[in-house]
Structures are given as C-alpha cells and as structure tokens.
C-alpha cells in the first residue's frame, strides 16, 4: 500500500459504539482519486457502520475524516453530499409513488421551480439515465412498479449526476443479473478514469477481483490488513484475512447425531419466494440440526419466514407431513420459530419474562375455561430461567430491561415451555453476547439430543460450523452445496457462498 500524493480520502482512528457494544475500533481507510477500493469483511464486521459514518447517517465517537487534505466534519447526509460524497445504499431508500423522474431529481436543483413541466423533466430524466447507466427506463413510471434492478439504476444515475468526488457502492450487485453487473462495472470504470474515488463493498469476491485496485479488510470492527488482486493476492488470501484465527466457542461439544433418526419431520420441496428463493429442497429429521447459510442478499433473510408460514411462497413446506400455510398452523403442529428480529417479531418487550415464556403455552399452563394460572406459569418459567441462565433470574422482570442475549433466551424458553419438537431459528445469536451464545447453543444441542429437529438459518459461519450436523449453502436464491459436519469449515463455506463454487472440484461436495 503506497500513500500517493493524490490521496483523496483518509479516515483515521474511527471509533464507534452502540451502547456498550463497540462496533468500530480505530479503523483506518485510505482512498486515492481514480481508485476502486474494495471493502470486505464478514457480516457484522463493521463495513456498513463505517460507510454510514462517512455518509452522515451515523456520527463517529472519535476519529478524523480528511477529504482532499482537509479535515471535515460530517454530521448529516447533507454534509456528505455537499462534500461530494455520494452513496448507493444497500437498502434502497426510495419513495414508491413518485415517478422515476421525480425520484431521480428529488431534492436537487433540477426538481426546483415554481412550474414543473412534467414531460420535459421526464425527457431529461430518461436521457440522464441512459447517459449515466446505458439503460432505458420509463421516466413516467412509478418507482414501486419497477424491478429491484431498475430501482438500482435510479440510484446509480442519481449518484453519478451529482458528479461526486467519492462514490460508495454498498452491495450494489446483489439484485443484479450478470449483464447488468457488467453494465455497472462499465460505469464504475468510466468514473474511475475521470478521477472519482470509489469504495466498492461486496460479498462477492470474484467481482472484487475484476473491479478493484485494492482491498481493505475489516474483522470484528478492526482493520486486519489490505490486499490487492493486482499485486497477486488470491481470493483465498482475502478469505484468510476475513476469518483470521477463529476462537472456538463451542465448548458444549455436542456428540454428533450418529444414527439416522427416521423420517424427516420438516420437509421443503421446491420452496420459492418470488425474486428471493428459487426451488429450495431440504429435510430435517428428528434429532438433527440442519443449518442453512449464505451471504446477506442470497435469500437467507426470507428463508425462515417462508418456512414458518410468515411469508407467501410457492412450493411446499411440510411439517409432520402437512403443508404449512400460516404462522398459526406452524405453531399449532408443535413448530417453534425464533425470528431474527427479536425486537420486532420475537419478544413482547413490555411484558414480563414469565409472560413471554408462557405466551405460547397458555392453554397447557392454564386452568379450565381459559383461565390463567400464574402459579404454574411461574413454576415453569423459574425452571427455564435457571436452565437457560436468564439474567436477572427474576421471572417478573420486564423484558425490555434484559440484554439482547437474555431476551433471545426468553424467546427460546417460550418454545421449550411449549415442548415444540421442530425448531426454526433465524439468526439465533445475532446481537447476542458470547456467554448467552454458549447457553443457546447448548440448549439447541440438548433439544436435538432429546429428539427435536432444528433448522438453523444463520449468516454466522462459526455458528453454522460448530452447531450443525449438515450445512447447506445458499447462493443467489439456490442451495448450491450440502456439507456434512465433518467437511464443513468456515473457509470452505465462505468460498462457496461468495463465489458460488468451491476452490477445487466444485461438484464433489454437492451430495444432496
């Protein structure tokens, strides 16, 4: 890494924490004019946080941002924009019922005026989009009528029109097809040649190989080094940097389910979600833990919702041989669902731990005629609070006062109280501290040993490797590989998930 004289952006010693969780620690990032810099790291490594700081959505706790030799302060998105920093966000922030032209020019001088001539604005928008992206778009269409890829075009065109000094693309290719990726790369190279500094965030290492000049790698909110494909580094080298030396936190040492345990209780056949998942087939037998993993954007986000009847899908999800059509149906046939967004979908924040634990088994724990039995609820809750080490060990504590890990344990306890024998866990330990993780892993393993079937959907590679009997890898909406526990390693999974193929002999592992 050379510090050229044409250094454009220099982020030094950036620190950021949310509450007590430190997300970025002394992170450095340097970008030269006319350079494409790749920014990579595992999910949760801090890439998005760093970018949000640079674009004014978050403010940094400490550290310095220097742009073209001057220290700048970025507190709001407008500050970043004024400095010539443009970003294409991973979440497309668009107003659905505006026309393409209105969205394209929103807040810019081209939308100003006391008498907008719609036809003229739309003609200009069409021309601008064609010029900047090389693609045609109906400027009179409403934004929510467009495909994801077309919506992406608006954002690209908008960013390019602002004539930025620094352009940030956050996972820009996830919704794009191959030829559209090529188009995008054409635009990126064109801008680079004009001296724009470009930060390109992607999980797809192959793409980075063909577009970037240099790569900065983050791990757990820290810099772990730079790499350059041009200088001869390989994808394996980058993966090595991303993963580092793993600390094994799987102390529970589960004995792998050795014998095949009979007929599957959860079966997915050609399960598809429009635009997200494509023909997923998998089975989970009693006593088995099956993990599905993939990068964000691969469809992994919606899999658990689709399986548990919370999201419309085609194909079928069979629980105990019967199709799951609704979330209530899933639960009534002894299915348990621990959703990924526990604040939103999992826990009743203003209720007590006891109420949360008893919520799914009021019938079982109650008296006749639907009357509640707080005494019985308390007994069951107390036992589970002990078993899962939920802290504080007070069943009448309000859930919102618990830490994320303890909240998650409470959600898990809810299903333990009900005695569910098929568990679907979506990102079971995201935002959960290490100690709670171990408890959650131990409980999942214990349940499996007692004969429950568990489907774990997770982007956490260590978790997947440490926990599962079988690991299935999702890539762009399809299962591309199945690895038995003995063959699954974080390196191999990341390789598969980020490139769609293994290092060598890609088809050998696929024994689905």
């Amino acid at each position: 890494m050379t510090t050229g004289s044409n250094e454009l952006l220099n982020m030094r010693g950036i620190n950021k924490s949310f509450g007590t969780v430190s997300v970025l620690e002394k992170v450095e990032l340097k970008l030269r004019a006319g350079e494409v810099l790749g920014l990579v790291g595992e999910n949760g490594a801090g890439k998005s946080t760093l970018i949000k700081i640079l674009t004014g959505l978050y403010t940094l706790d400490s550290g310095e941002i220097e742009l073209a030799g001057k220290v700048v302060s970025i507190r709001r998105p407008a500050d970043a924009e004024a400095l010539g920093i443009e970003v294409i966000h991973q979440d497309r922030h668009l107003a659905g019922r505006l026309t393409v032209a209105e969205q394209l020019y929103l807040g810019t001088s081209k939308s100003a005026g006391l008498w907008r001539n719609e036809r003229k604005v739309q003609a200009a928008a069409r021309a601008d989009i064609l010029r900047t992206t090389g693609q045609e778009l109906d400027a009179a269409a409403f934004v929510d009528e467009l495909s994801v890829a077309q919506q992406q075009l608006i954002q690209i065109a908008r960013a390019v029109l602002a004539e930025p000094k620094v352009l940030i693309l956050d996972e820009p290719t996830a919704p794009l097809a191959n030829e559209e990726v090529e188009q995008l790369f054409g635009t990126v190279r064109h801008l680079r040649d004009q001296g724009v500094g470009i930060i390109f965030i992607s999980h797809y290492l192959q793409e980075l190989q063909s577009i970037t000049d240099r790569i900065t790698v983050l791990r757990n909110g820290k810099n772990v080094g730079d790499a350059s494909f041009a200088a001869g580094d390989s994808i394996e080298d980058v993966i090595g940097l991303m993963l580092g030396n793993q600390v094994n936190e799987f102390s529970h040492q589960r004995t792998q389910a050795s014998t095949n345990t009979g007929d599957p209780v959860l079966e997915l056949a050609e399960l598809s979600v429009h635009g997200k998942l494509n023909g997923i087939n998998l089975t989970v037998a009693p006593g088995e833990i099956v993990a599905v993993t993939g990068l964000l954007g691969s469809g992994i986000e919606v899999l658990a919702d689709a399986v548990t009847g919370n999201l419309a899908h085609t194909g079928s999800a069979l629980l105990h041989g019967k199709a799951v059509t609704s979330a209530a149906g899933f639960v009534s046939r002894s299915g348990a669902y621990v959703p990924s967004n526990r604040h939103h979908d999992g826990i009743f924040l203003r209720n007590t731990v006891r109420e949360n634990i008893a919520a799914a088994s009021l019938h079982k724990l109650g008296r006749h005629l639907g009357l509640l039995d707080p005494r019985k609820e308390r007994e069951v809750s107390k036992e589970l609070v002990q078993r899962l080490d939920i802290r504080p060990a007070n069943v009448e504590a309000i859930a919102s006062g618990l830490s994320g890990g303890n909240q998650q344990k409470s959600v898990l306890a809810r299903w333990l109280a009900k005695g569910s024998d098929v568990l679907v866990l979506d990102q079971p330990t995201s935002g959960v501290d290490v100690g709670s993780r171990a408890h959650i892993y131990a409980q999942i393993s214990q349940l499996a040993q007692d004969g429950a079937a568990a489907l774990v959907v997770s982007v956490d590679l260590e978790e997947v490797v440490g926990l599962a009997d079988r690991v299935l890898v999702l890539y762009r909406g399809r299962i591309i590989a199945e690895l038995p526990a003995g063959q699954a390693s974080t390196e191999k999974i990341l390789q598969l998930a980020s490139s769609g193929q293994a290092a060598q002999n890609p088809l050998e592992e696929v024994n689905a």
């Binding site: 922030h93 005026g113 193929q501």
Partner: protein, 336 residues
C-alpha cells in the same frame, strides 16, 4: 476464475425485470361506478337535483369541508397516509368551530367584519403552529391533534358560553349572498384554494418534496430534504384553512353554532381520504379533495331530495367510506 462460472449464478430476480403494464384494475372502477350510480340515482330520482340553483347550493355546502379538507389533504401528503402513524389532523373541525366563534364574537362586539374574520383565522393558525411543533418534536399526530381538538372545542364553549352567537351586518350578508360570474363567493373561495393548492402540491418542487417526505422520510432525508419543515408547514396550513372554513360556515348560517366543529370533522376526513380514488398515484391530492367534497355535498343534498330520512345519511356516508377504502386497497394490492 470467472471463466468457470457455473450456471449457479442464474439470478432468480431476472425473471421479473420488465415494467409491469399499467392498466386500471377492475377494482379501480368499483369506486367510479359507485359514484356514477349514486349521481344517476339522484338525477333520475329528483327533477330538482340538476337545476342551476341546486347545483349552487351543493357547491356552497361543499366549500366548507372542501377548504378544510384541502388542509387535511396537505397534512396527509406530507405526513403519509398511514392512518395510525401518518399525517392526520383531528383538530381541524374543532379549530373551524373555534375560528367561527371568535369571528362571531368579534363581529358582535362591533369589530369590522373583515378584521373579525382575520382574528378567527389567526386564532386557528396559532393552534396549527402548536400542532406542527408537537409533530415535529416527534409526538404522534393522531394523539397530538386529538389533544388540541379537545382544547379548541373547549375554548369554543368557553368563549360562546355554549350559546349561539348571531352575526349581523353587511359584511357577512354580502359574503353569504354575493354572486360573481354566476358562482357564490364561498364556491369561488373553494376554487381558489383548490387552484393554489393544486399549483403548489402538483406543480412545484415543494409539492414533490412533500409527497416524498410523506411516503418515505428516510428516502427524503437521504435526498437532502428535511421532513420536519414540510410537516410543520402542513399543520399550520391545515389549521389556517380550517379557520377560513369556520368563518364561511358562520357567514352561511348567520351565526356561530357551538359544537358544529366536531360535527363536520367526519366529513373533512372523508373528503381528504376519498381524494385517493381520483388520483393516478393512489395518493391523497388537492384536486381530488375538492371533487370529493362536491360529491359528498351532492350526496347529502340528493338523499334529502329523495326524501331519505336524515338519520340514514350517516349510514350512507359510512358505507361510502368503506367502498372508497375497499376500492383503494384492492387497487393497491393488484399493483403490488
């Protein structure tokens, strides 16, 4: 490595990447058909319905909740049309009533008519400023304006001592009966409010920005807009327009009638939301609100002409709201 790309990278999204054809769905026509059927029923049911003088009566009636409705429409545009968390101004009816009472009291104590009206509108605007500040501070619009609705309704009773206050004098007499180019003054005022509202919210960047802020505040912020500005202004405008509507009501009835504000609230909300069915975007609009106000006034008028007992008018309007919501909802579902 890229030379050995396997078919795995087939993108599941690529199947749906063309612009969906935009044709009005079946559900879209249910709303229009309902309106047409109702109007035809009136035209054939009463020979008097389509006469010039009756149409002027309808327009005059429409003007009160048409003008206040435009104010509410602006609030919904900039706050979003989510009924629970979006933009809503429940105080609008009570503010109209308060403005009318203040105007009538001022006129009764000898203030010139024009100044009396100005006082009424200023009091209304003050409440709008409170609403706007509350909402930009992060209070839920539904609750914040429910609170000011209570305050305004109570002040109205305090000022009027729960008595009807008659207004006399040339100014209000003229406002009631003067006709310009064949249209009464109130109707002209509604046309003016509609035209200016249409210009601002359909033709200027302020309008586009307001719609953007209402639909997706994050998208607006990312585009460098400040949602608070557009929302604050929308509540002030809503109350000011409600104030004007209140003074029109006083002129029409020749008196300030206590409690009338809460009675017209439902009509104001109805016309603002009903404007969605006149909009290509399925969004609340200024012109749609005026059209809806005229339709609702015609509904009141037509049902009376047909001899439907006034007790049933509320039921008819209730069904109408359901029809409109169903039409908009079904249309939205088809398009998504």
């Amino acid at each position: 490595m890229s030379s050995t790309l396997t078919p795995v990278s087939q993108d599941p999204v690529s199947a749906e990447r063309s612009v969906r054809t935009r044709k009005p769905s079946f559900a879209a026509w249910i709303g229009y058909a309902g309106i047409a059927a109702v109007l035809l029923l009136f035209i054939f049911g009463s020979p008097y319905f389509l006469t010039a003088s009756n149409i002027l009566t309808i327009l005059t009636q429409a003007s009160v909740f048409g003008i206040a409705g435009v104010g509410l429409a602006i609030v919904i545009i900039a706050g979003g049309d989510d009924v629970l968390n979006g933009g809503i101004d429940l105080s609008t009816g009570a503010v109209a009533g308060l403005s009318g009472t203040v105007t009538a009291l001022a006129a009764a104590s000898g203030t010139p008519g024009f100044l009396a009206v100005l006082y009424g509108v200023l009091v209304a605007t003050a409440i709008g400023i409170i609403n706007g500040i509350s909402v930009t501070l992060g209070l839920r619009p539904l609750l914040a304006t429910l609170a000011t609705m209570g305050v305004a309704a109570s002040l109205e009773l305090v000022f009027s001592q729960n008595l009807k206050i008659a207004v006399t004098g040339g100014f209000f007499e003229a406002a009631r009966s003067s006709v310009f180019l064949g249209l009464p003054l109130a109707a002209w005022l509604m046309v003016l409010v509609g035209a200016v509202g249409w210009w601002v919210y359909s033709k200027t960047s302020w309008g586009v920005n307001s719609y953007a802020v209402g639909q997706n505040p994050t998208a607006a912020r990312v585009a460098g807009l400040d949602p608070r500005k557009y929302r604050l202004v929308s509540y002030v405008l809503s109350s000011a327009l409600a104030g004007i509507a209140g003074t029109l009501l006083v002129a029409r009835l020749s008196a300030a009638v206590p409690g009338i504000g809460t009675q017209i609230l439902l009509d104001i909300i109805l016309v603002a939301y009903m404007s969605m069915i006149f909009s290509r975007r399925r969004l609340v609009s200024v012109v749609g609100t005026i059209l809806a106000a005229i339709f609702v006034a015609a509904l009141d008028n037509g049902l009376t002409l047909l001899g439907v007992a006034s007790q049933w008018v509320g039921a008819a309007k209730g069904l109408l709201i359901l029809l409109v919501l169903a039409s908009v909802t079904l249309r939205g579902r088809n398009n998504r």
